[in-house]
Point group: C2
Chain length 478, copies 2
Amino acid sequence: MDSAPLYRQLAGHYRQAIAAGTLLPGERMPSIRALMERHDVSLSTALQACREMEAQGLLEARPRSGYFVRPPAPQTTPIAEPSASLPDPAQYVGIHARISAIIARGRRYPDAVNLAGACAPPELYPVEALRQATGRALRRHPNLLGSAVEPDGHPALRAALARQALQARMTLAPEQIAITHGCTEALNLALRAVAGPGDVIAVESPTYYGLLQILESLGMRALEVPCSPQTGLSLEALELAAQTYDNIRAVVVVPNLQNPQGSIMPDANKARLVQWCEARGIALIEDDCFSTLADDDTPLAAAKAWDRSGNVIYCASLHKNLAPGMRLGWIAAGRWQARVEMLKFSQSRPNELLSQIAVAELMASGDVDRHLRRLRARLRHQRHWAAETIAALFPPGTRLSAPQGGMHLWVELPDRLSSEAVFEQALEAGVRVMPGVVFSNSSRFDHCLRINIGAPRSTALERAYRKLAGVVARLSPR
Amino acid sequence: MDSAPLYRQLAGHYRQAIAAGTLLPGERMPSIRALMERHDVSLSTALQACREMEAQGLLEARPRSGYFVRPPAPQTTPIAEPSASLPDPAQYVGIHARISAIIARGRRYPDAVNLAGACAPPELYPVEALRQATGRALRRHPNLLGSAVEPDGHPALRAALARQALQARMTLAPEQIAITHGCTEALNLALRAVAGPGDVIAVESPTYYGLLQILESLGMRALEVPCSPQTGLSLEALELAAQTYDNIRAVVVVPNLQNPQGSIMPDANKARLVQWCEARGIALIEDDCFSTLADDDTPLAAAKAWDRSGNVIYCASLHKNLAPGMRLGWIAAGRWQARVEMLKFSQSRPNELLSQIAVAELMASGDVDRHLRRLRARLRHQRHWAAETIAALFPPGTRLSAPQGGMHLWVELPDRLSSEAVFEQALEAGVRVMPGVVFSNSSRFDHCLRINIGAPRSTALERAYRKLAGVVARLSPR
């Protein structure tokens, strides 16, 4: 017998019908009443099934007409798999200055349409609920702003995060969690806990430029390991790298909705990676800022879910999914927890309490889950539209990632066009993108762009895409 | 003609009278009415003059009786000057673990009367004004908590800090200031900007234990330079150290109200120190968290006031003097400003805005100056009482610092009693102090205690002092 709830079984049934072509894109879904009669289910079950399929992007609701089968995700040319080559020896060339220069240059155009960030606008977040919770915390704790802060974070927030961790299949006690100034500080602390200057750290290629900055500022050396745009870090390439370099101290990985490619590592790979690191005494640092933004409402598992010995350091934040204006991150550092807490104390002291109290209260209510479902649906919608727009406007030969969640698209330009040239000319035209050069110490991604899809569809945004496509076309040799 | 305001001239006149012995301790000050008539001044001028003298510790108000001349600061045996010996070779022994163990042990007694901190209770801070300003910022910026934070800090706060810096005789543009997570993060950034692992950093001896933790966590080596309890860092000893060790990369100093001794470096020494570092290409890092807590309302000058080449990195916070519950620090890093901002971005990203907006508004009003005058007066009062109490209760041979401001007393126990033993037994008796062992890598201060005087006088506090004195007496061999 199927143990899934009835509405899920019902949704599964119709998902198969759509996959099999029994129901075609644009066709009307049976009405709620028809579903109730045909499958002998309650109104609420029929409704829930349709809503689940809507959230999964299979159906769309049209006012006063019911549900219709959505067209499939845009037909774009996917990014190719990487060649299983050895890491590029250019890995040790510092790029901190280059990244900083590009960020600084972008900032000089504050009026440009910003497609370079890793964020979404305030209207996608529960700003009113955050404001009210903050106001309540201020009223309930009249002495808060005058009181020195106790270490290790607010107990209620740590408890709320421990509960949230359960969804990603991690079993953590609140005491195994420390609050940090964002995921950036968490990554700094994780790296400082397990490695020192000169040590080699294996990272994804392409990887988040912020990580390359952190590594360079700590004097550590990034060893880039090729990544699949679908399944993330290549474990074969990692094995090859370990045979070549016997001094890898840690692996830093974003298993869920990797930045910039948007890949999701299959659970089997997560389990293998955890085991592989454990067997070699190499620390595994997991950066998990985006996983709650996956299109599917079924939570993604963290790699740390397979951690049995405390060898995985889990880093995350509430910056992308809940409160961009609060610097709240967290770290569960396994067997390095005491060392991480000591480093946190000596690096920046405990976080202030106000935002912690407010967010803990919000997380204890059901509001956050409701918000996340809405946010996921909106991001999915915006991402599909952005992908369709890019596919329609950019020159032939452009390739596009097809991430199942998150805030980015990863674009490969045709003819190995220089992303830095596109970046420069797009800025002049009033559009800011993140050029591929900042995501690697090598030149492998110089022809790529990371495009943020956080902003809702608008004519201004469409105009920006047209300008960007125009820049690419002008630079294109064809 | 004297250009000072009339009330200051009047206060100056009577200050001289007290200094000359014309008015003796305990004598009644002329009444307000008498002052008005005798000096032909307004009621408000007469009142202001008396209040200024009260704030300076010269007068005390007795209900319904008027102002009386205060007795001079308590007669205690002062701490002796250090011998001008070479730095102790024990300097390189790490004490991070020892400090952490003592902090962790203290935390296990949450109910103990806490004399170990570097803070004062909420009632000494403008909690209501902070709360209201925070509430206003929330209302005025409805999208704040949902918006990603722009780098380098809130312009209005940087402008307010630049204005405040003028009082310490520093001329800084707002853009030369970056906001940090407290002074601790500022010190981390300063050290990371100018030095790397293995580098030698000259520090005061005794010094703030937090600095020793930071240095050890960064793999830097603390070279301890003897300090006068009156005038702070010994420039002669520093010169001697530089002749012995030719690899000093930076000097970290707290010129104003040094932690733990409470010394204030004379301006001539500040100027010499700045010049000395400049001439040798050694960076000078100034930690200035306490200077606005000096008893005298005349602002103390920062060492950076003498900086002409950008060789001084100034670090401070609003944690001790304005808002203990907000993690707001700042750094003006001179010629390392760009590097510090890059490190800040890669270490923890910009601070969140809410507290910055609230504090900027408060600083733009006159409220902060009024608060600081009150805070100084209360701390002075509490410090004098604590010093008198310790002098009366502790065994003969106890020596005491006589700081002219701040939140601490520095106590030398007789017979080189072990401060760690006192710490342990006092904890059991319900009193937490900070033992001298954490303020040096050497054993030079093992017989010292740092006592926080942030809490207002109370019978509970007096009982705690009695218990502490009892522990010292029991451990004393006499």
